[in-house]
Amino acid sequence: MKVVVDLSICDLHGLCVEAAPEVFQIGDDGALHVLMETPPDGLRAAVDKAVRECPTGAISIEE
């Protein structure tokens, strides 16, 4: 799985950071960073949660 974030619509709600802190981070620059573009399958449930809970639908998974 590959995590793709559309930064043009990311609105910094930070729910993805809560759902999958290993994968998402809001940096000191105030922008969202993807720490792991291809997270291991063990993080699948956490990334799914991040996708579902993103209020702007900015996160998607490419298989």
């Binding site: 709600h13 809560e18 809970e53 209020p55 639908g57």
Partner: protein, 400 residues
């Protein structure tokens, strides 16, 4: 044997429940029933992007039409459910058809409250659904004078969007300080000041006694004897859960569907979103929460428990979260505040209108408000989820 699941309510919660069921491998028959003709759409943009004109209404749809193929849903849109027979496990629809189920997830949401004893007329509008937004947008195209009844989040977002279009806006609020029960009076006053600075005529501590105009709205009369001339009146005075169709079903209905912490309302029946009252330690025993994130989380939780069955069910324990965008300010709020909570601004200031505030009850951190400081939320959300003490929250603040 779990072969058939029916979801009533084709909105955010209903869709997320369906997605979760499929993600977790449910491959039986899945029915999604909705009273609106539209496929599921997102509500938060309605009062902002759609009203301001930067989005077309279709941009609020969660999925394109073909995006539903993978979910393999029996979608029944434009047909309300009218009753449920818990014993026969069967939902009856308004068109005379039925949906049989082994598990039922109810996410019928809520509808706007209307001003009592005021007859409908042209220009008297509300904003809840996509059709409401389209109608309101069309109406404000002609640059009318707008009166908004109710300075809750929807009313204030409508006011901000109308100001962004350059329309004259009056907001009428019965409370002396808008949003005070939710944010506390200090921040209620601040939000009021933001609106006044943007040219809103905000009238507080007054109620609408009458809507003027015969076939078309001409204005409103207020309890202080004054009169506001307006070409459109938008009523945003809260919502009522859509539970009438469940009367006599045997489910416990009391300002929503009363559920256990598992989201179960009865054996094999679950509820989620605005219609559900699920025990929640943040907002009292069994609060109904009308926020976007709650709808998602309860829907996922209900779907997971519907698959797991009562023995394996987990209790719902998400920290409530909502946000509101007004002008260039974003209010984010997590947890649950009460009027007597102590509020401490730990970063920024009221003067800057950019700040982080913590809410204290006893020795606990119970809520956090961030105004244009999105990063703060992440830190305090974690602390709230861990039920952190006030001292722990403050030391976290000092460390940052």
């Amino acid at each position: 044997m779990l072969r058939r699941i029916a979801i009533v309510g084709a909105s955010l919660a209903g869709l997320r429940a369906a997605e979760t069921l499929r993600e977790r491998g449910f491959d039986g028959a899945l029915t999604l029933i909705g009273d609106e003709p539209h496929r599921p759409y997102d509500r938060p943009p309605l009062s902002k992007q759609v009203l301001q004109g930067s989005w077309e209404p279709e941009q609020t749809f969660f999925r394109k039409k073909e995006g539903y193929d993978a979910l393999a849903l029996d979608m029944r849109l434009g047909v309300p459910a009218v009753s449920v027979d818990l014993r026969a496990r069967r939902v009856a629809l308004a068109d005379g058809t039925f949906a049989d189920y082994d598990r039922l997830i109810i996410a019928t949401g809520a509808r706007v409250r209307t001003l009592s004893a005021i007859a409908p007329r042209a220009g008297l509008l509300a904003l809840r659904g996509l059709d409401d937004a389209i109608m309101l947008r069309r109406t404000i195209m002609d640059a009318p004078r707008v009166a908004v009844v109710g300075a809750g989040f929807i009313g204030l977002e409508v006011a901000a969007s109308c100001r962004a279009r350059g329309l004259p806006v009056t907001v009428i609020e019965s409370l002396p300080v808008p949003l005070a029960p939710i944010l506390g009076p200090t921040f209620g006053d601040m939000v009021a000041a933001v609106h006044r600075d943007h040219g809103v005529d905000l009238r507080t501590g007054v109620v609408v006694t009458n809507v003027l105009g015969e076939s078309r709205v001409a204005g409103v009369a207020l309890s202080d004897g004054s009169r506001i001339d307006a070409d459109v009146v938008v009523v945003g005075i809260g919502v009522t859960p859509n539970t009438e169709w469940l009367e006599g079903s045997g489910l416990t209905i009391d300002n929503g569907i009363v559920c256990a912490g598992s989201g179960e309302a009865a054996p094999d029946v679950y509820a989620a979103g605005d219609v559900a009252r699920v025990a929640n330690r943040w907002l009292g025993d069994s609060a109904r929460i009308e926020h976007w994130t709650n709808a998602v989380e309860q829907a996922v939780h209900a779907a997971e428990n519907a698959l797991a069955g009562p023995e394996a069910s987990s209790s719902f324990s998400s920290v409530p979260y909502f946000w509101s965008d007004q002008y260039d300010r974003r209010i984010q709020f997590i947890g649950g505040a009460r009027p007597y909570d102590e509020i401490v601004i730990v970063d920024g200031s009221l003067a800057d209108r950019r700040l982080t505030a913590l809410y204290r009850r006893g020795n606990r951190l119970v809520a956090c408000l961030a105004l244009n400081q999105p990063r703060a939320l992440i830190k305090y959300r974690k602390l709230l989820a861990a039920d952190a003490s006030w001292d722990a929250a403050l030391s976290e603040t000092a460390a940052s």
